[in-house]
């Protein structure tokens, strides 16, 4: 409850974690607000089906609020003038009038604030992927503010969880992205860091994942617990194993 989990991927694609968390929280009966900026709804839907969850049904019964970034952007860009009717698009920051992500935050807040008839378990905010907001012109400060506001609302007030993905490259020259990633790392309760192998490309091991439990944040004098596993992605699941014990070696 009230946890902030940061997903980072470097040199590889960590979106499998997003798919996992999405199906995990939906199966647990939580109300999920998914800000999907990078892929279309059908992509997530097809993968979720392989993992045993039906996104369309979840949307229809109100358990899932899905913001398809690509579609919203198109609506904003090509939509007619009269359509607005006072309702702001969640991606309003794309137009020059506003430079902060307030509209996006309001969207999240209204989606997750429980109505009286709701019987869901805690609310969950899932974002894939935060780096896209920077590509679209949001400043790092605006992005961090947005996350901060979300934390206050979702984690503290509503006792829900947040899972956010930030993508980066190795030796990245994208300073804004690194700034956002590092800043969020300091404030996260749990960091799942997915990396491609340092030694290059291998068919049996797709990468390694570092799980960092930020116990140091709890001020008990303990250090963060770090665990490292390697993984291989298959069509319907992912196998994890200790480093050096992949099928290729055994």
């Amino acid at each position: 409850q009230g946890k902030f989990t940061l997903l980072r991927d470097t040199r590889t694609d960590g979106s499998f974690l997003v798919h996992h968390f999405l199906s995990f929280y939906l199966r647990a009966g939580c109300k999920v607000c998914f800000v999907a900026l990078l892929q279309s709804f059908s992509h997530y839907s097809i993968v979720a089906q392989k993992l045993g969850v039906n996104l369309t049904a979840a949307k229809e019964r109100g358990q899932l609020v899905f913001l398809e970034g690509l579609k919203s952007c198109l609506d904003l860009w090509f939509g007619e003038e009269e359509k607005q009717s006072g309702e702001l698009s969640p991606l309003q920051f794309l137009s020059e009038s506003t430079s902060d992500l307030k509209a996006l935050f309001n969207f999240v807040r209204t989606s997750l604030t429980p109505a009286d008839s709701d019987t869901w378990q805690g609310p969950v905010l899932l974002v894939d992927d935060l780096s896209v907001l920077l590509s679209l012109g949001a400043t790092p400060v605006a992005v961090l503010d947005f996350i901060h506001y979300c934390r206050v609302t979702v984690c503290s007030q509503l006792k829900g969880n947040i899972v956010v993905l930030v993508h980066s490259e190795q030796d990245s020259k994208d300073e804004e992205n690194e700034l956002v990633g590092n800043s969020l790392s300091h404030h996260s309760d749990l960091i799942l860091w997915v990396e491609g192998l340092a030694t290059g490309f291998c068919k049996d091991v797709h990468g390694q994942i570092k799980i960092i439990k930020r116990v140091s944040l709890e001020l008990r004098g303990e250090q963060d617990r770090v665990q490292v596993y390697q993984y291989k992605i298959q069509d319907k699941n992912i196998t994890f194993f200790a480093p050096g014990l992949s099928a290729a070696v055994l």
Partner: protein, 341 residues
């Protein structure tokens, strides 16, 4: 699909034309956009498709020669490699995916006329202002987006017209995006005015492509873009990213390691759509060569190191090339830390 251009733009142009030519042969609709070259000219210079018979004969001859040599002497020194499956250096005649093209011939105009195509040539369009420019994007990009969206909508590629029985695919080709002719200064300045124009354009384009039956290839002069952060963001927003590095003018041209090839193909990213996994290729070391008639992409073979006084430019270079060698000895391509034997 995103292609980083090679320095002199010879080979990436070729790939671009291949993409469009494939569209012509498959009967897809085309949309070609460019700021430098008039799309009419681009289309006139598409390579001609190879008819099955003549190609098979040529290929058959090559293949039989190779086979004859191999069967005679089994490998003596590199016997370990014998157990590896025979590398298919040239495209096989059995698998038919796509078509092959003859670079020395032009596509016959009758084929071109059989498909519908649209073009966007910036010098002709730039006098018009975009209808709306919400995102404060570069005007040229905004006009291009409008054009693409109009075609998609009018021709029904986004499924908006249920009357249209036959579904076709729109192949979009955009040449040299980001180049200064588009009015963007990311190629000419270290601190461009608007570093978000290109990425915003790509995001909206991505939305359009996802919503419709279309595929797009974009070539970008990556070597000219000073701000590397932009390239990282662009890579993140694309499905497939391929970089072409040609050897012209670089020290690799005379390097005996690469004497058979004209350049390297770097696959930076492969699409991972609708699935947890992606189609991971066997090897990531690919090189290309342009023969008189064919442009081929094949696995990088290093010639055997026969003498230890072969003048390689430096040990560092050797390490670089060792990195590129992907063989049965284990996977170590593209990593910073190279393994010593």
């Amino acid at each position: 699909v995103f292609t980083e251009e090679d320095k002199y733009n010879l080979y990436s142009n070729l790939l671009f034309k291949y993409f469009l030519a494939e569209g012509v042969v498959c009967g897809h609709d085309l949309f070609v956009a460019s700021a430098k070259e008039h799309p009419d000219n681009i289309l006139k210079e598409l390579p001609a498709p190879l008819l099955d018979d003549s190609y098979r004969n040529e290929l058959g001859k090559e293949a039989t020669v190779v086979k004859a040599e191999d069967s005679q002497d089994s490998m003596k020194i590199a016997w370990r490699y014998q157990n590896l499956p025979k590398l298919e250096a040239s495209p096989t005649t059995t698998t038919k995916f796509g078509h092959y093209y003859d670079v020395s011939k032009k596509m016959p105009p009758e084929l071109l006329q059989s498909i519908k195509w649209q073009s966007f040539y910036l010098p002709e369009e730039s006098h018009l202002q975009p209808k709306r420019n919400i995102c404060n994007m570069n005007n040229a990009y905004a006009r291009l987006l409008e054009s693409i969206q109009r075609i998609i909508y009018q021709q029904g590629f986004d499924g908006s017209d249920p009357q249209k029985k036959q579904k076709n695919i729109l192949r979009i080709g955009i040449q040299s995006l980001g180049f200064m002719l588009w009015g963007d200064d990311i190629c000419s300045s270290d601190t461009p005015k608007d570093i978000h124009s290109l990425t915003k354009f790509l995001y909206v384009l991505r939305g359009l492509l996802r919503k419709s039956l279309s595929a797009c290839i974009i070539t970008v002069p990556a070597h000219l873009i000073q701000n590397k952060a932009i390239m990282e963001r662009v890579t993140n927003l694309s499905d497939t990213v391929v970089g072409l590095e040609s050897f012209i003018g670089s020290e690799r041209e005379t390097n005996p390691l690469y004497k058979d090839y004209h350049g390297l193909v770097h696959v930076h990213q492969i699409p991972r759509l609708n699935s947890l996994i992606c189609d991971v290729p066997d090897t990531k070391d690919l090189a290309f060569r342009l023969k008189r008639k064919l442009f081929t992409i094949e696995r990088l073979h290093l010639p055997p190191d026969l003498s230890d006084t072969v003048s390689r430019t430096s040990k560092q270079d050797l390490a670089e090339s060792a990195k590129l060698l992907s063989s049965g000895c284990g996977a170590m391509a593209m990593g910073k830390k190279h393994l010593d034997f």
